[in-house]
Assembly symmetry: C2
Homo-oligomer: 321 residues x 2
């Protein structure tokens, strides 16, 4: 039995790009696009459409900007069944980078925002909507929000936009299933006539379980990434999500195939997934920054594996990692 309203979004390139400054080869992205398209997944998010005023093109790869010619090339070889999304950070993007609809292969702009920047997010989402795109808003770092401000932001999004969905984002991988229940109930209270989405991180090996919890509670827009690729501990593995959903339009075969050919080789260059430093920042509801810095130490450096010392450092202020 499946719920036809459910839409799955692959954000492998977008979230994975946080681990390599969005430097994926066009060849690899094409293979991922083809596999995700073949799997029946509904939407693929190919990267950020962030501003070159905030990110230098010499420091970042093409998937941080998602210029139209790059996107067009990425989808050129296939019979596109899915929709194309790009993400904008509300505080690192400008409405000028949203091109007229007829010049674009983009279908969906997802605006990621901290609560404090919600007015910027609403402006970007509304600009995209007015230009004929679909738009959504992802509220990041939910677990750090002041409750009253989050409520107000949700109310604003509901009243001032026509986004198709507003997302719960567990940026720090710190939420348990009971927290998902709590946030879904809150969203349902404020977000009416729009869908709720969920984007989980895997610091405590709960990204998939929390996504299922969201489904049980009525969330219909679900984020996943191939083999969980994403920042730090990564995301809900797309192959697990697709296997769980019983909708016959989905197939895991193209996903596991491309994981074998293109994602596993990547693990030699960039490292994501469950690791003790990420588990500790998740458990403590902290940004993974300190853990990412620890993970960047050379393998030969014993500091890298002194998790008790790291734990002391991140639980005491004024101590340098």
């Amino acid at each position: 039995m499946y719920r036809p309203e459910i839409k799955v979004i692959d954000c492998s390139i977008r979230d994975g790009g946080l681990m390599n400054n969005s430097r994926f080869s066009m060849d690899m992205v094409k293979k991922i696009v083809s596999a995700v398209n073949d799997s029946g997944v509904d939407i693929i998010e190919l990267g950020y459409r962030n501003s070159k005023n905030f990110f230098s093109p010499s420091d970042y790869g093409p998937w941080r900007f998602c210029d139209e010619d790059v996107l067009r090339e990425a989808v050129s070889d296939i019979d596109l069944k899915m929709e194309i999304a790009v993400m904008m950070d509300s505080h690192k993007a400008t409405a000028d980078d949203i091109l007229p609809r007829e010049q674009s292969v983009v279908d969906i702009f997802r605006i990621a925002t901290y609560v404090k920047d919600v007015d910027k997010a609403i402006h970007l989402a509304n600009t995209a909507s007015e230009m004929g795109y679909k738009s959504a808003i992802n509220i990041m770092a939910m677990s750090h929000c002041v409750e009253r401000e989050l409520d107000e932001a949700l109310q604003q999004i509901n009243e001032e936009t026509d986004v198709f969905a507003c997302y719960i984002v567990d940026s720090f991988g710190s939420l348990y299933s009971e927290d998902i229940d709590y946030y879904v109930d809150k969203y349902k209270k404020y977000i009416t006539g729009k869908e709720i989405g969920i984007h989980c991180h895997n610091n405590m090996q709960l990204a998939f379980a929390n996504t299922i919890e969201g489904i049980i509670k009525g969330v219909n827009y679900l984020d996943g990434t191939l083999y969980g690729i994403g920042r730090a501990a990564g995301n809900c593995p797309l192959e697990l999500l697709v296997a769980f959903l019983k909708n016959p339009k989905y197939s895991i075969r193209p996903l596991i195939e491309v994981i074998g050919t293109d994602i596993l080789p990547l693990t030699k260059e960039i490292e994501w997934g469950y690791r003790i430093p990420y588990m500790l920042t998740g458990m403590l509801n902290q940004h993974p920054q300190a853990a990412l810095a620890l993970m960047e130490l050379e393998d030969e450096n014993i500091e890298k594996y002194d998790f008790a010392k790291f734990f002391t450092a991140i639980t005491q202020e004024d101590i340098e990692i």
Copy 2:
């Protein structure tokens, strides 16, 4: 808020031993024993007390037999706060290997059994009980049980033994939280006046989430292993479990420390954790045998990463892996 009835069992050496024929060095086991003892975890399971008629001591390390002198040496350096358990497989162990209580450092015999062997398990559990030990029964491969036979086995265990707990074992890592709910309800129906335990595998990254689901439903005996070490995809990570439980008697510090010093180096010799072949056997509710065979291929062998071919093989009979 914590539930004082909850008891956590570390089975790192026991379940991890399925990946290296129980060949851990005494030095490493001593460090694990010390760390687990310091963490406040209630019970440590040091291996199998299986019969030398079934396993040759030349092929298996000491933790497959857990001779008393070996156990005594393993716990010799510490002020023991936790209880010592060993596991017996009902079809690979004999009651003769249960020594008189006063000659033993063992506190608990856990009997692992398939439903078909439940009478053997009851005999072993009762022998241990009569000799003054505590005993428990773990029903393996629950997801393959014929329902009526499982019900009958549970009824027998309830009526014919005085085990302190009967365990739900998700041997193939194929259960979702709704399945855990179902089995806990079933156990509650048949097992009265004894505790329920849970032992999960991580094929679908649900071992920790399913253990939490068990806790929510009233399960009080919880299995975990350091960094999830265990057969194939491994188990519920002990450090996550201890972090989740709010009982102040537990501390994760000794656990993360020994993971850094002794468990991470092991990952170079033996490989466990979430991998696509294990995910596929879990999803299909199959024994991980075929996946383990695939994982043993040389890294240079491209067959090892042809997951689509493997998927075809394990979903079609008469095709050799």
